[in-house]
Symmetry: C2
Subunit: 693 residues, 2 copies
């Protein structure tokens, strides 16, 4: 199925590009909650998105800061998300003798709910436009200075807001620089595991079925949010009504799409296609190979490597789909036509035409800078050369010592006062760190560092210290004490003095590479990031002027609203139904002789007779989603929950760049969750809690 030629899916788009670039395709759009698609919904579906309806959905939606979405599903702080969003936590809470990924978990009482070592959940409370304030603070023509001014102002706004409201406050860059808005979140950090199924059913079909449809996954888990050691009481949560769902129903998704590249210039897309994506994929492949090799040595190794593997393989498959899109002449024809439409429209106004040209030049120049700096930036500042949890800790400690001594507005953004709580939560997480896995990953990444920068690069020589990559990795991992949370706390609290005095080899390494890493970050921020904000900001303003603001920005891992209908589809030319059933699940397991990754857990085999085989399991809709939407609630027009988003199909992988009406979002059907809780997992109390109004 993975070989579907994208060209077929897109040919209609090329033909239709005689219309203006802003005319949206069918159910396209990841809309801002403060700029909702009222007109589209009214015209297409005769639906009124009232303020109350929107506010309830917004406050029921939850962001998982490890990269996913979720929702409140009971008054007692119960939160639902995908199993694959919870899997890092499940792994962190597992040991050699308690494998929560393999065996699942159900807390039959609140006392049994297990505290996640490192989860932060956010609920969006308000949005305020601060575009004027941010842009007013930037008065320098020098991009380096301008970058500092912008960064300082964003931090000031955030720190002030956080101090005033106590809420997490993030200035979000929308339209890649067209708007700046202040998002205020209620933040929860005491999050406890309530229920997770076995990963054999949560991720039935494994990597082979990832992004495929028809699908049969119970990709769901439940957490409960606590405050002051008690379940939090919420008034905005979603009530359930999955049973009524039928084909053609209007369904909404409220979630946090992570990143799209739909407004990039053609040259920027070509740069991604020819330079960035191939490099990213090479990096993912080597992580995959290292994790698989390590995991293959024993079942316990595989348990340890599982989180990495799931992340890497998911990312790899998604990006392969994205690259396939970029390499498809039909996709590029769409993007070229969009850009031409904008250029021609701007040409009617000389000032606007000049602004358009200036923007394009600025962006082009940023790409030249990016090409020069990207390898070093990835290796040093993104720490790809030092792939290990303990190096990440060491870097944070070393930098905290320097950054915290400065005024908040002058720091790296992640060290601003209003972000320190979140930073410390990660830094002091009790999640286990496996020395063996650290060693193989670090060894491979040091080898990659040597390959990419050359054996004789001065930083490489300093880092290697006369040793081979593997010998150096062993020395670093054996020598560091940073796996111990108390040691981290001591170093963090000891500040610069403690850091300077430390002879922990990982701290020493982080100190050694800090200067070159900071240097390359500065280049990146000043020559790539800031110019792109300026260039894309100009393009956004041209679009606003020409076509109005009735559009949506590229995804930014902030709350968005998507709409669409439950609709059957075609996958690689084969018709696929709008939903699958439990019956289909058992058939598919049988086709594969119940062999991994198509093996059912014992609980499902044992309870097969109790299940209604016609229960819908997964369903597809035309909602516009992307990575980060995982775990988003999908609701009907009454705002009632009908399921939970967990994937897109292969055809949707091109949605990074262009929405097509052939693509599909894939959800776990709410009925499957309820039926499984009651019949397979003997979890009626949990199902009852969900059904309570």
């Amino acid at each position: 199925m993975r070989c579907r030629p994208m060209s077929l899916a897109l040919s209609f788009l090329v033909a239709s590009l005689l219309v203006p670039a802003v005319q949206l395709q069918a159910d396209e759009g990841m809309w801002l909650f403060n700029q909702p698609p009222r007109k589209e919904l009214k015209e297409r579906y005769n639906f009124d998105a009232t303020d109350a309806w929107l506010a309830h959905l917004r406050k029921s939606a939850v962001r998982f800061n490890n990269g996913g979405s979720g929702s409140f599903v009971s008054a007692d702080g119960l939160v639902m998300t995908n199993h694959h969003i919870g899997q890092g936590t499940l792994n962190d809470l597992s040991t050699k003798d308690r494998d929560l990924l393999k065996n699942g978990y159900y807390a039959r009482s609140q006392a049994e709910e297990l505290k996640a070592p490192n989860l932060e959940l956010n609920v969006l409370m308000s949005i305020e436009d601060v575009t004027g304030r941010v842009n007013a603070a930037v008065n320098s023509k020098d991009p380096a200075k301008a970058e500092q001014q912008r960064r300082a102002e964003m931090t000031k706004i955030e720190d002030e807001s956080n101090k005033q409201t106590g809420l997490r406050s993030d200035v979000v860059t929308l339209y890649r620089g067209g708007l700046y808005q202040l998002y205020r979140y209620k933040k929860y950090t005491d999050v406890r595991l309530v229920f997770a199924p076995e990963d054999d059913i949560a991720a039935f079909g494994g990597d082979p079925d990832n992004f495929e449809y028809p699908r049969f996954d119970l990709d769901v888990c439940f957490f409960r949010v606590y405050e002051n050691d008690k379940p939090v009481h919420v008034t905005d949560y979603l009530t359930w009504n999955p049973a009524s769902l039928k084909e053609g129903d209007l369904v909404f998704v409220a979630g946090h799409p992570g990143r799209t590249e739909r407004t990039l210039t053609v040259r920027h897309l070509e740069f991604m296609r020819d330079v960035q994506m191939p490099a990213t994929l090479d990096h993912l492949r080597r992580q995959d190979v290292v994790a698989l090799t390590f995991g293959g040595r024993s079942a316990e190794n595989m348990r340890r490597a599982k989180s990495v593997l799931l992340r890497v393989q998911n990312s790899m498959k998604a990006r392969l789909g994205g690259l396939a899109g970029l390499q498809d002449p039909a996709v590029m024809a769409v993007k070229r036509a969009e850009e031409e439409t904008l250029r021609k429209a701007a040409a009617a106004n000389p000032a606007m035409a000049a602004e358009f040209d200036a923007a394009m030049k600025t962006i082009d120049k940023s790409l030249v800078a990016l090409d020069k700096v990207r390898v070093e930036y990835n290796l040093l500042e993104q720490a790809q050369a030092f792939r290990s949890t303990t190096f990440g800790i060491a870097r944070t400690l070393v930098r905290a010592a320097d950054e915290k001594a400065k005024p908040s507005a002058d720091r790296f953004r992640e060290f601003r006062d209003s972000n320190l709580d979140s930073l410390e939560q990660g830094l002091f997480s009790k999640a286990p760190i496996y020395a063996d896995l650290e060693t193989v990953a670090l060894s491979d990444s040091l080898s990659m560092f040597m390959e990419q920068r050359g054996y004789n690069d001065p930083v490489v020589r300093t880092v290697m210290n006369g040793k081979s990559p593997s010998a150096r990795a062993i020395e670093l991992v054996r020598g560091t004490k940073l796996a111990d949370v108390a040691v981290r706390r001591q170093l963090y609290e000891g500040g610069k003095k403690a850091i300077d005095a430390s002879d922990d080899p990982m701290i020493v390494l982080a100190r050694l590479v800090d200067k070159p890493s900071r240097d390359v970050r500065t280049i990146f921020e000043q020559q790539v990031d800031e110019p792109q904000r300026v260039g894309y900001g100009k393009l956004a303003n041209i679009r606003f002027e020409l076509f109005g603001k009735n559009t949506y920005p590229d995804a930014t891992f902030t709350l968005r609203l998507a709409f669409g209908t439950v609709a059957r589809c075609e996958e690689a030319g084969v018709p696929a139904p709008a939903w699958t059933t439990f019956g289909g699940l058992f058939e598919r397991a049988k086709e594969h002789d119940n062999a991994k990754p198509f093996s059912l857990p014992k609980s499902w085999i044992d309870h097969k007779g109790d299940l209604d085989m016609d229960t819908p399991m997964n369903f597809v809709s035309t909602d516009d989603i992307i990575g980060g939407n995982s775990g988003s609630p999908i609701v009907n027009s009454n705002g009632e929950l009908v399921g939970i988003i967990f994937d897109g199909d292969l055809t949707s992988l091109v949605w990074d760049y262009v929405y097509t009406k052939e693509g599909r979002a894939i959800s776990v059907h709410g009925s499957a969750i309820l039926e499984a809780l009651r019949k397979v997992y003997d979890a009626a109390p949990l199902a009852d809690e969900l059904m309570r109004k």
Copy 2:
């Protein structure tokens, strides 16, 4: 275990490098049979390698032209090799319903012996030095012309010899250009499968245990060689005496090591470390990911992908070990010291010093040329851009049409008259071709082509024909008829006219890219290959003059003799015994809950009670081997078979560049083979045939 720091293994070497570069380490050497290490054997082991002893071993040794070694082990043409050398054949002979890899095979009568679709076995009959004749033919100073002259002369020698003797005749380049010798082989192409165990026991431990020790693999299979539809009768074959083997015993390996890089210049090694190896590894990783993704979809897919996976994963692990060696400063220090020793010795003689400098410059220049041409050479001429069996067939057909029209001496070497039989055997092989696997591999490789040459490269654009890589791959694989052997034969016999008239899309593609591929091959042959022959030939002659000819050349996939002793070792600092036992095998399976790849086949579980648990299974020795030696017989000083080489340990992976006494060759113990045949496989007649004198 895979993280052993090479530095430890090599530190002794660096210290010892005050001695001349040609002083060999312990049991180092892959010796020529016509230049055997008589002196070393006499001095170290008081062993006389008589002509008769050598001739018998040579004529008992067999080369598997798919990349391995083997030996005659009965008068009736029985040949033993590794299971992993036979596995391509086992895969070719398998179908969805008859999986010879999974289930193994035993032909209880000659009628049941299964003919391999594409095996060629060679037995070395004679060696003749032709250095004078080859070099005399080269009189041009222009490398392009010189390359043609040399190639033509080598072909002439081969064609003449083949015509005169009927033997396969190969001019082998030794010492990278120091000597040219004519190797004449008896060739066998009717090769039939007699016995193979299940791959669960042949490759017990799978990729995780590959290159590791202690090991527990029954990596062996048996073929029988036929002529005129009857088992061939041979007088030189190895008799068995494994039971007497003990630690410290002198043991010899007669096999076909494929390639070593021990005489490369330091700059050449640096080029491999910094440029070639990383690129090769990236390419292997992407083949691994594609095959694993395809294989993961079903058991049948995995069966189809298995050959690719085994090859790719083995190669990847070996090269990772090799790269680790090159990235180890201790290894480079050894190589630098060796080069300095040679430079200083040559400096005593001005003419020789000038020759040394000229050689180094020639080689350096060839590396500059290689760097320029390598990506295009790999993509086009090595066909990495078109990864599929049917493209390989198409290319052979297209080129045969052109080449066969020329005089033999003017053709590409593989099309010379004396090689056409072998070429045709491969071209008309009935081995199955799987369209689904072809499609995913071709799609990935076309995408790589686009990534590496750029979307707008004219050859890329021609190849893609306005389609995406996946759409183009589907079109090519669906459209081609070359999976049909009759179609190939028609096109081959139809010559240029048939090829020009063909509209088979794969033939059309091969025609399209033939010109640029030929062009880049010419550049490679004239600017890289020929100058390196000249440069390394000079260095070899300097070594001969200074230190005599009592040394061995880098491996060339021709017959070599290695010697060493059965000797325990250390693996990652842990002492390991000289051999493992059946008892250890069952323990290791139990440690892993009999889970793949540590699961025992049913036959072994059923017959556990019948087995002597003390039977030695695998053993290690200090013999100097490398890839290509797989399947080599290992014999005692009486020339009696004691086992079969199947692997080297992790420490030995650096042997590509430098032999270390810490590394070990790993063999299946002959006793394990006999015991398993009798007790597990009910194959007493086969065991009896082996024991017959």
